[in-house]
Subunit: 422 residues, 2 copies
């Protein structure tokens, strides 16, 4: 079934409001196994709405219209729906009573303008709105089924989940299950991942699994979308492809599905009854912030220190720091990690430092020096990156967390990533 | 001029990614006096793209296509643009060199798949992309001018501002000057700002200045959009309204235009030849991160410390801390600020601590305790807020920076904000 989402309203069209209603509706439909094939945005304008209704009815079996059901003059959905279907508007007595009741319960009189919300095109079927005065409805326009939903998010959300999706599933009489399996990696660019995973879709029976990528530096998301007729069928189709992806991306997989890199680091520390302290130079305390903002991070992170001033960091790491005056280096990072661990009583310490090239150009380079200590071992990792200061900073934050993940999960800390240069 | 925005990509179509690119583009165009009349969203699908290109060319004079310029197989914009215009794809040697150079500088070989990014429809004119390998371009399809822009936000943003908008303004031959004056406030909600600024548009000659708001908690942006025929005309129209806004929003204005709150704090510290150290409990080091990531923040911030563990914070603040064992309170925050200042040799110290209500419900409350020291004075500020943990955290981060701004600029630190409760 081809489904179109048609969002209306000047606020959305002009970008004043970010269209989160669209993404919510599309995601919920997708999770129910329904596929959105087209999205349209128009303003509060009769001609555009009418044109959009006609075009949507020509290319979709079902159209979900969002917005334009309110009481004010710029709410045009019912009026234009009637024109598009060639019918009149008529008062829905039942809904008028609902609105009046809504106001009576709040000890107020219904403003006369609200009667407009009970005017529906002839032949329209009411979709209940338990949390507001806008009346949802559905009707046929040029052979396509149009669902009209309110623009107020909480009203729209309930209507989509409780009424629109069940009706759509009933319409297509399908029992299709869908699943989106996601892998998050750090260290592989999108084009190399594409090469590494070439032909992976062929492993799934009958091309039933579709591969996709989403790059949000410094992470890359690799996605497997699969449709099936039963849970067993889903498992059978997905499992071989999933295993192959896991094998090919290997150590670069930092998390899967809803997991996060910082969440996996905290998981491993929790299991080991460990605690962590950090020192950050140039990453501004962002590693600590990621960990502290995560679930129960506050119980595991003992102390986070950030500064660009090495003297301050040496002082903060504690009196025992065996700092040999070599400036920012891996040796210094390891020395700081060891003394910080002792001072704070943490089982683990992570130190991330960056020295930028002296020229300070917009597009420049920098050296990342990472030091880790866990009592049993001291580990260092160096990497050189090119790019803007922000690019290098984001890379250093992710690399610091990733080195810790690798150490905690017994993986090699030293494994070349795509973002570093020799 | 009728402008259509055509967003492509399965992530956008399926709602996995919220379409902030759309709202950014539409808003920027609106601020330049250009009006978006239609929005379309389609997936990575040849037939749909072609159909969308044809329809858009029929109803718009200019179409901005976003996404689909990447190196992978699901990036289809150039290919479909060529089909829609009835021309061939040809290699753009200049852009190929750009991509190769991009990789060479990073000590890597260009993956062969990236050559695809230099294949442009015949007759297309390159739009420069100074920050990525995707090549923007514009060309005519069925009489409409199509601009192709990358889906990566930072690449799209520069291209829209620096190239697409000037070209569109040139196309409509308008010599209209536009200006968007922006005020950033902390502590005023949108509905109260609307009341405070009621009637402000009438101050501008002939209603030439338009007022708008954009709320991104905890900040509110108040915008004055003005169109004029000359610089002098612009100044004449804007100045009286600008002055009135500045007077009415008063101390709540934390920054104007491209300034940031952290930038203004650093400005004041720099002028006073001051330095700063911070301690954060519950805000996870985010205040330090904001300051350290800002221009020259690294020279002014001596040390930032974050932890949820009061013992660690007392230890980090230095041996002289006069901590009286009262737990998290304003008195403790001030004591920590004073000893941290001494220990680090900073001229200023800021301590922000939050104690959450014990029940830890999703929708709960918390107390924000702020302490500041500058040698001459110790200042405390307490505020109680209701809301989710994230809501309180974001409020505490902003309030900490804002208290410091108020102290540094000689404004009252104690001034009730809309987000706090008694």
């Amino acid at each position: 079934m081809r489904i179109e989402l048609l969002c209306t309203g000047d606020e959305i069209l002009t970008g004043k409001t970010v269209n989160t209603n669209y993404s919510h509706m599309a995601r919920r439909l997708g999770e129910a196994g329904l596929t959105v094939s087209w999205g349209t945005t128009v303003g509060d304008n009769r001609d555009q709405l009418l044109s959009a209704f006609h075009q949507a009815s020509g290319r979709a079996d079902a159209v979900i219209v969002n917005g334009g059901l309110g009481p004010t003059v710029d709410d045009l959905s019912q009026e234009v729906a009637a024109v598009a279907a060639g019918v009149e508007l008529e008062l829905n007595e039942g809904w008028l009573e609902r609105i009046q009741h809504y106001y009576t319960r709040r000890g107020r009189l219904m403003p006369p303008t609200n009667q407009k919300q009970a005017m529906l095109p002839q032949g329209a079927v009411v979709i209940d709105n338990p949390v507001g005065t806008a009346c949802g409805f559905y009707m046929t326009i040029n052979g396509a089924c149009f669902f009209f939903t309110p623009g107020v998010p909480r009203e729209m959300k309930r209507m989509i989940d409780e009424q629109v999706i069940p009706k759509l599933l009933e319409m297509c009489g399908s029992k299709v299950l869908t699943r989106l399996k996601r892998f998050h990696t750090f260290g592989i660019g999108e084009s190399r991942a594409d090469l590494i995973l070439a032909g992976i879709e062929d492993i799934g029976p009958g091309g039933s699994v579709k591969l996709g990528f989403q790059s949000h530096y410094p992470q890359l998301e690799t996605k497997l979308a699969v449709q099936a007729t039963s849970v067993e069928d889903l498992r059978r189709k997905l499992a071989p492809v999933e295993d192959a992806v896991r094998q090919r991306l290997g150590n670069f997989i930092i998390a899967e599905d809803d997991q996060t890199l910082e969440g996996r680091v905290l998981d491993a520390l929790r299991k080991a009854r460990g605690t962590l302290s950090t020192i950050e130079m140039f990453t501004g305390g962002s590693i600590t912030a990621r960990l502290l903002h995560a679930e129960s991070g506050g119980d595991i992170v003992k102390l986070g220190v950030a500064s660009r001033d090495l003297t301050q960091l040496v002082d903060a790491a504690g009196p025992g720091t065996q700092y040999t005056g070599t400036g920012v280096s891996c040796a210094t990072a390891v020395a700081l990690a060891n003394s910080l661990r002792g001072r704070t009583g943490s089982t683990h310490a992570l130190v991330v430092m960056v020295s930028l090239d002296a020229d300070r150009e917009t597009e420049s380079g920098g050296d990342i020096h990472i030091g880790m200590a866990n009592g049993a071992a001291s580990i260092a990792r160096h990497a050189r990156m090119l790019g803007s200061r922000t690019w290098i900073r984001l890379g250093a934050i992710e690399m610091g967390l990733d080195c810790l993940r690798r150490q905690l999960y017994g993986l090699p800390v030293e494994q070349r990533i795509d973002f570093e240069v020799h």
